[in-house]
């Protein structure tokens, strides 16, 4: 009798441990509670390719606003190589990783450019022609433009609303780097820089993430990149 009680106790105990472990593991690979109600989305934001529409574009795309412009009405830098009808939209397709990964970096390769200045970073989105030279996107622990250390991307949601930081988001083009994060690597939000925001459907995992980031320094100083990422979130790294 005593022996059977011992076996039952051990089985129950082990079950509790295993169940607790499973529960904990399940949480870690999908969403992690960060504050009351707010949950971190750790995994891959799988991107849907951008497509041209009558009103502009949908899916994943980028626009560049000229200095002294506004997010709503530009003026925009028309990318002659854009496949969109409206050349102010640069449509993008998912890269080799399928999209943006949170909680870790997707750095530039080495070398980051070919001899003509085409970017070779292709994990998040495929290198995209921009005025005859391809640009790439990466997230690096050390921002290549400013040399500052930046945190890995983090995105969370609450009640379907996305917030987060993408300080390390960098565009590379023509052997130059342009930090396109929000906030910027020094924590500020200059000019038209706007916070990372969007929507997340926890049932379907569908997301839309947008933000704007003013370029500080270099040939496009004062221009602002507007980023629109759309797709489906896949938990786990």
């Amino acid at each position: 009798m005593r022996k059977r009680d011992t076996i039952v106790a051990v089985v129950v105990g082990l079950s509790v441990v295993v169940l607790a472990g499973c529960s904990s593991s399940s949480t870690a690979t999908s969403t992690t509670a960060t504050a009351a109600g707010r949950q971190a989305l750790v995994g891959t934001f799988r991107l849907t390719a951008g497509t041209s529409t009558a009103s502009g574009a949908t899916g994943t795309y980028f626009r560049m606003i000229q200095p002294n412009g506004t997010l709503a009405s530009g003026p925009y830098f028309d990318n002659p190589d854009s496949t969109a009808t409206d050349k102010s939209y640069t449509l993008q397709v998912p890269g080799t990783a399928g999209g943006l990964v949170t909680d870790r970096f997707q750095p530039n390769p080495s070398p980051a450019f070919d001899a003509s200045g085409n970017a070779l970073a292709g994990a998040i989105v495929a290198p995209t022609p921009f005025s005859a030279i391809a640009f790439g996107i990466s997230t690096d622990a050390t921002d290549p433009q400013t040399g500052k250390s930046v945190p890995a991307p983090s995105i969370s949601f609450e009640n379907g609303k996305i917030t987060g930081q993408l300080e390390s988001w960098t565009a590379s083009w023509n052997k130059l780097y342009f930090n396109q994060g929000s906030p910027k690597p020094d924590g500020t939000s200059p000019g038209l820089t706007s916070p990372v925001s969007g929507t997340y459907d926890s049932a379907t995992h569908a997301f839309v993430i947008t933000w704007a980031s003013e370029i500080v320094g270099g040939p496009f100083n004062g221009f602002t990149g507007y980023w629109h990422l759309q797709g489906t979130f896949a938990p786990g790294n």
């Binding site: 200095p67 028309d78 002659p80 190589d81 003509s116 270099g218 040939p219």
Partner: protein, 346 residues
């Protein structure tokens, strides 16, 4: 003063009836203190000057500006920029003439083309202004190549505040020590004189009398270039050129080919557009970093421009140098002078 040295019978000793007089007694009474006080003030002024002008924060910015302009300030590179603009000019003109005629022969009007290729139409419309402004900018930069090279040949801008502060500290320190410890009067005088001579020689040694005015001319010429407004204008031109070239490369040339011309026929009949398309990536590789350097150095230029005019800088060395030498001479010990005179007379 505790010196026990005695001077020969002369001057003060003679007036005491031939009794030897300690130097201390003589020196305290016969040395001119005011030239040494002037030297101390001069030293303090030299130390204060770089602080007053904000040189410690501004001159490193000048060093950064010169360094970032360095890759572009060569005859070959500047000639290359002029060639880039001439190639764009030739392509724009070719589009307006022979390419427009080619389309016209197929019944496509200029208005049709402008509607179909709006970015190229925008480039066409703006090109006279862009061409004029870009050529003017490049001419100005090229015209200042010699001035840039002259100023770049000076010691690093980062060192300039120290060129004032270090001699200032030496002169101030020597003067204060000499005033407080009379036995160090003579070494103090010598130190001040040597530093003064150094200050007078330095501008000549660094050829500052030629180079500083050259630098001043460069700063004047860049006054209209290194402004936020000018940089934004160039960025705007860049966007117009890039979009317009894109229409030529991705719209007009394919349309010509769709109209029945082969690639080689397009290249043969429209060589300027073909050349521009072939060289476009190289032109971007060339122009983009230059615009970046222009943009990044607007605050650096402002910092340097807020310093006193460059041509004055050699005099900022020479004048204190002469004053230091003068003070040193005037602070000469009268006892020593009269002794030397008597020695000369005997």
């Amino acid at each position: 003063m505790t010196s026990t040295t005695f001077v020969p019978e002369s001057g003060a000793a003679a007036r005491t009836g031939g009794l030897p007089v300690p130097v201390a007694t003589v020196a305290a009474g016969r040395r001119r203190r005011w030239p040494m006080i002037v030297a101390a003030v001069l030293g303090a002024a030299l130390v204060t000057m770089p602080l007053a002008f904000g040189m410690f924060s501004k001159t490193p910015k000048g060093a950064v500006m010169l360094s970032e302009f360095h890759p572009f300030m060569t005859t070959a590179r500047l000639d290359g920029f002029q060639t880039d603009i001439r190639q764009i000019d030739a392509a724009v003109k070719e589009n307006k003439t022979s390419i427009t005629q080619q389309f016209a022969s197929a019944g496509v009007t200029r208005a049709d083309l402008d509607t179909r290729f709006p970015s190229l139409a925008s480039l066409d419309a703006q090109w006279p202004t862009i061409n004029s402004d870009m050529t003017d900018l490049l001419n100005k930069v090229q015209g200042n190549l010699g001035n840039y090279q002259a100023i770049d040949a000076l010691p690093s801008f980062r060192l300039f505040p120290w060129f004032f502060a270090v001699p200032g500290v030496l002169i101030l320190g020597s003067a204060v020590v000499a005033l407080r410890r009379l036995r160090l009067w003579r070494p103090g005088r010598w130190a001040i004189a040597i530093v003064g001579i150094g200050l007078v020689i330095a501008p000549a040694a660094f050829q500052m009398f030629q180079r500083a005015p050259d630098g001043g001319r460069m700063m004047s010429s860049f006054k209209t270039i290194e402004t936020t407004g000018s940089v934004v204008k160039i960025q705007d031109y860049f966007a117009t050129m890039a979009s317009g070239q894109g229409d030529l490369r991705l719209g007009v040339v394919p349309a010509l080919e769709e109209g029945g011309l082969s690639g080689s026929q397009v290249a043969e009949r429209f060589p300027a557009v073909t050349t521009l398309d072939r060289n476009w990536v190289r032109i971007l590789n060339d122009l983009t970093p230059m615009i970046g350097a222009m943009s990044d150095n607007v605050p650096n230029y402002r910092a340097i421009a807020s310093l006193p005019p460059f041509p004055l800088f050699p005099w900022f060395f020479v004048m204190p140098g002469l004053l230091a030498i003068g003070a040193s001479l005037l602070a000469r010990d009268r006892t020593e002078q009269s002794y030397n005179q008597q020695q000369g007379e005997s």
